[in-house]
Symmetry: C2
Subunit: 230 residues, 2 copies
């Protein structure tokens, strides 16, 4: 990767590495190190191991301070909505992280540059690299600027089913129900379609790679719809 | 809890709190706050949430530096052998942490002061409290002094089955086998007894609250026995 490209990425993330090798390593997917017959130890997996723990701590500390009235169980649930593949891959997409990854040819051809797991792992590797290069404070800054933004929306999205039920309960004891109405695509790449209904009226529809994700999206769309009609 | 007792505990852990309330909170089990009708937020569960993440990061960073040739998968396995209830409760016992806990009467009577989960959670709470009071460096010192000691032995204990198989493989392709030979006690408090055998010869016996723990202990005893006979 050219120096210009690394410079551009550093500008984007607002952090300049002392040790550029760490940045390059964080952007090196295992498919690339395999293809180039590099040592396994030079791809981004070890940095991901470390970065995952840095992200866990910075997120936990942030939530601990911000939500002083939440119990341990509520904090754990909230943290899980942030430190999860869908959120992290969305944050990676906001940073256009995919454009900077070093991938092997096979991974490239099969769409690795947009794969949630690849993007989410690489983001954790970047966090691990910043932590090693600049310490906890710098890693914390990065996490706050690019992951812990817009928490209320993230919370809403990943916990939409709970939020929807709370809205409905204000006026009724009847629970909403989720119905699987369609499954598309081949087995390894299925899309589920779910409707959420209240007293047989459809409140929202959602699609996702699992029933659970489709239900969350259906609930999220229902909340948006209910709010528009208020 | 008297000040003398808190002083004594601080001496033991080698850290003096600026904010003594944090220490007291870390030692307050939920059964005590329930009994005294204190707020849930004043027992040690929120500190445990934070301390768990501090422990995860300090352990990950320590292993990352110490084992520069291990892959992410190997590091993850090793970390799991340290950040786990059996190891943490053993560390708590070494610190006699149980003596300093504030417990409710029911928990006290049912043996909570020696319960692995209570001790392990309280140790994480102490780590969270030190982190809030003194920062990451102080928390790291505590973790190194009281948890990350004698790693090789801990590794051996929690991965004894693998180690035993490796020893046997030096001279044979036949795997060792584990046999459940007894189960004692009532359903909610069972003790399993397992033998590990090689070509029908008993190499070691182990006991534990799960088959897995009993197998690990059997393997551990077999390794000790084999080393004694060398």
């Amino acid at each position: 990767m050219g120096h210009n490209k690394l410079d551009k990425f550093e500008e984007k993330i607002g952090y300049t590495f002392i040790n550029k090798f760490l940045l390059k390593q964080a952007l090196t997917h295992s498919s690339y190190s395999n293809e180039k017959r590099m040592s396994k130890l030079d791809n981004n997996e070890r940095l991901e191991f470390l970065g995952d723990a840095v992200l866990e701590l910075t997120t936990s500390h942030f939530l601990f301070k911000k939500y002083s009235k939440l119990t341990e169980g509520e904090l754990t649930k909230l943290r899980a909505s942030i430190v999860c593949e869908p959120t992290l891959s969305q944050c990676s997409k906001d940073l256009e992280l995919g454009n900077y990854l070093l991938l092997g040819k096979g991974e490239e051809l099969s769409g690795g540059r947009n794969r949630s797991s690849v993007l989410s792992d690489a983001l954790e590797s970047i966090i691990g690299a910043i932590y090693l290069d600049g310490g906890l404070i710098k890693a914390e800054e990065f996490v706050r600027n690019f992951i812990l933004t817009d928490i209320d929306n993230k919370k809403l999205f990943y916990d939409s089913k709970t939020v929807l039920q709370e809205i409905i309960q204000q006026s009724s004891q009847i629970p909403v129900k989720y119905y699987l109405i369609d499954e598309n695509g081949p087995d390894h790449n299925k899309i589920f379609v779910v409707e959420v209904r209240f007293e047989n009226k459809v409140l929202g529809t959602g699609r996702g790679r699992s029933k659970k994700l489709a239900e969350q999206e259906a609930a999220y769309n229902a909340i948006k719809e209910l709010k528009n009609n208020q």
